[in-house]
C-alpha cells in the first residue's frame, strides 16, 4: 500500500520542519547523497522510498525505478533503528541492494538528535493504519464520484498543499454549479433514454 497523497504531503512537511533542527544529521546525509532507499514495511503493509538529495530527505510515495537499497520488515523493527545501532544486524529487517548504504543510513538515523518517532507520531503507531485507512478511503472516493467527499477532500488538499489561489468559496460555488449542470444532464439523459426506448418499441423491426 502507498501513502495517500495528502498524508505524504504532511509527512514531508514534518520532515522539512524537523531536519533543519539537526544540522549534524543534515551533514551526515551528505555522505549518502543522491541515493534512493526503498522502505518496505510489512505490518502494516506500507511501501515508500526516501531520496537523499542536497542534505535533505524526500519522501517518495512511489518509486517506479531501481532503488539503491531496500529495507523490508515489520514497523516495530524500523522503530528500533533509532534506539539501537545494531537494529540492522539482527536480520529482522531484510536488506537488499547496497547493504553498506543501508547500514550507513541506519547509523545516521540512530545518531540523529531528532526523535523521529515523535516527529512523525501523527502519522505512525497505532493510529497509522486507521488514519491511512480513513484517508485512503476518503480519497479513494473522488474517483468513484461521491461529490460531497470530492468537494471536501479537494478543497482540503488544495489548501494544504499550496496555500492556494482559489478560496474554498470559489471552489464550492463552482462545484455547486457543476452539480446543477450534472443533475440537469442526468434528467435529460434519462428522458432521452425513455424516449429512445419508446421509439424502439414502436419502430421495431426496423
Amino acid at each position: 500500500m502507498h501513502i495517500p497523497i495528502p498524508i505524504a504531503v504532511l509527512v514531508q512537511k514534518a520532515i522539512d520542519q524537523t531536519l533543519p533542527l539537526d544540522p549534524d544529521t543534515q551533514r551526515a546525509l551528505g555522505t549518502i547523497d543522491s541515493k534512493v532507499i526503498a522502505i518496505n514495511i510489512q505490518q502494516p503493509p506500507l511501501e515508500f522510498a526516501l531520496s537523499i538529495v542536497d542534505n535533505d530527505i524526500q519522501l517518495l510515495r512511489v518509486f517506479d525505478g531501481e532503488p539503491d537499497a531496500t529495507l523490508a520488515g515489520p514497523l516495530s523493527d524500523f522503530f528500533a533503528i533509532q534506539s539501537s545501532d545494531t537494529a540492522l544486524d539482527n536480520g529482522r529487517i531484510k536488506i537488499s541492494g547496497d547493504e553498506q548504504l543501508a547500514k550507513d543510513f541506519g547509523l545516521i538515523v540512530y545518531r540523529s538528535e531528532v526523535d523521529w518517532q515523535d516527529a512523525l507520531s501523527p502519522f505512525l503507531g497505532e493510529t497509522l493504519v486507521h488514519k491511512i485507512g480513513e484517508l485512503g478511503k476518503r480519497f479513494g472516493l473522488w474517483s468513484s464520484g461521491t461529490k460531497q467527499h470530492l468537494r471536501e477532500d479537494t478543497a482540503e488538499y488544495l489548501q494544504e498543499e499550496t496555500n492556494l489561489l482559489v478560496s474554498r468559496n470559489q471552489v464550492s460555488s463552482f462545484t455547486k454549479q457543476l452539480e446543477t449542470t450534472a443533475a440537469k444532464v442526468e434528467t435529460l439523459d434519462s428522458k432521452l433514454t425513455a424516449l429512445e426506448e419508446r421509439a424502439n418499441k414502436k419502430g421495431k423491426p426496423s
Partner: protein, 252 residues
C-alpha cells in the same frame, strides 16, 4: 486522429483549419489565458489536476542527478516538483512553444525560489532543440492534444530520450463509464466555457480547450501511436474514471 493526410487540414477544436493556421490559433489561445491559467486550472478540475500531476511524478522514477524535460510545461507545476527531485546535481528543462506561458512560469518559479537547476526553453514539441539521448525522463501534461502533428512530436521525444529513459503523457482521454462520459461532455462543453468567461473572460479559448479534449485520441489509439513512434513497454492507466489517462513508454 487529428490529421487528415490528404488535405493538410487539421482540427482546431471542432473547426477544420489549415495546419499552419492551427499553430497560430493555439498560440493565441494560450496567450490569452496565460495569466489566469493557474486559477482556471484549479477551479476547472477542482484541483484534482494536482493529484493527476502527483501520480505522474510518482511514475517518473526520477531521482537525484537526473535530467528531465517537461514539454508544454506552461506555468511549471511539474517542473517545480522535478527540480526538488533531481536536486543540484540534476537538471530540469521546461519547454513551451508559447513565450507568454514561459514568462508566467519563469516569474512564478522565481518567486517560489526555484532556481539553479531549471532552464526555460521556447520550443515546439515537434522539433525539440536538444541533442540525441539527453533526458532520463520526458513529461508532457495536457499538452499533446494541442500539438498539430503528434507523430512528429513523439518521434522528436524518442530521439532526445536516453536509452532506458521514459516518456509520460498526461492528457484528457475517454471516460470509461458511459454516464460519466455524458456528464463530462456537458461539463466540458457548457460549464467549462462558462467558467472561462467568468474567470478569464475568454469563453472562446476555453471552448477550444473543451473541443480539443474531445478530439484527442482515446487511450488505445494514443498507446498505438507511441508504439508506432518506437516506444517500448508502453502502458496506460486511467485516472478519475478515464477523464484523464497517464501513458508511459520507454526507449531501450
Amino acid at each position: 486522429m487529428t490529421e487528415d493526410a490528404n488535405s493538410n487540414k487539421t482540427h482546431f477544436g471542432y473547426k477544420d483549419v489549415d495546419e499552419s493556421a492551427k499553430v497560430g490559433m493555439v498560440g493565441e489561445v494560450f496567450h490569452s489565458v496565460a495569466a489566469k491559467y493557474d486559477v482556471m486550472n484549479d477551479v476547472m478540475s477542482f484541483g484534482v489536476h494536482r493529484i493527476w500531476k502527483q501520480i505522474t511524478i510518482d511514475q517518473s522514477a526520477v531521482r537525484p542527478g537526473h535530467k528531465v524535460l517537461d514539454i508544454a510545461g506552461g506555468t511549471g507545476d511539474l517542473a517545480k516538483k522535478f527540480c526538488k527531485r533531481v536536486g543540484s546535481s540534476g537538471e530540469v528543462v521546461l519547454a513551451d512553444i508559447n513565450a507568454s506561458m514561459l514568462e508566467v512560469g519563469r516569474e512564478r518559479l522565481l518567486n517560489e525560489g526555484v532556481v539553479g537547476n531549471l532552464r526555460f526553453v521556447q520550443a515546439d514539441a515537434e522539433a525539440l532543440p536538444f541533442e540525441n539521448d539527453t533526458f532520463d525522463c520526458i513529461t508532457i501534461a495536457f499538452g499533446l492534444r494541442n500539438v498539430t502533428r503528434k507523430e512528429n512530436a513523439l518521434a522528436s521525444m524518442l530521439r532526445v530520450l536516453k536509452p532506458g529513459g521514459r516518456l509520460l503523457i498526461l492528457e484528457f482521454s475517454k471516460p470509461v463509464l458511459p454516464l460519466l462520459n455524458t456528464v463530462y461532455d456537458a461539463y466540458s462543453f457548457k460549464a467549462l466555457p462558462m467558467m472561462g468567461k467568468l474567470i478569464a473572460d475568454d469563453e472562446d479559448s476555453y471552448r477550444y480547450l473543451a473541443e480539443s479534449i474531445r478530439m484527442h485520441p482515446d487511450q488505445a489509439t494514443l498507446e498505438s501511436m507511441m508504439k508506432e513512434a518506437g516506444f517500448e513497454d508502453t502502458s496506460y492507466q486511467n485516472l478519475t474514471g478515464g477523464i484523464v489517462a497517464l501513458h508511459k513508454g520507454f526507449k531501450f
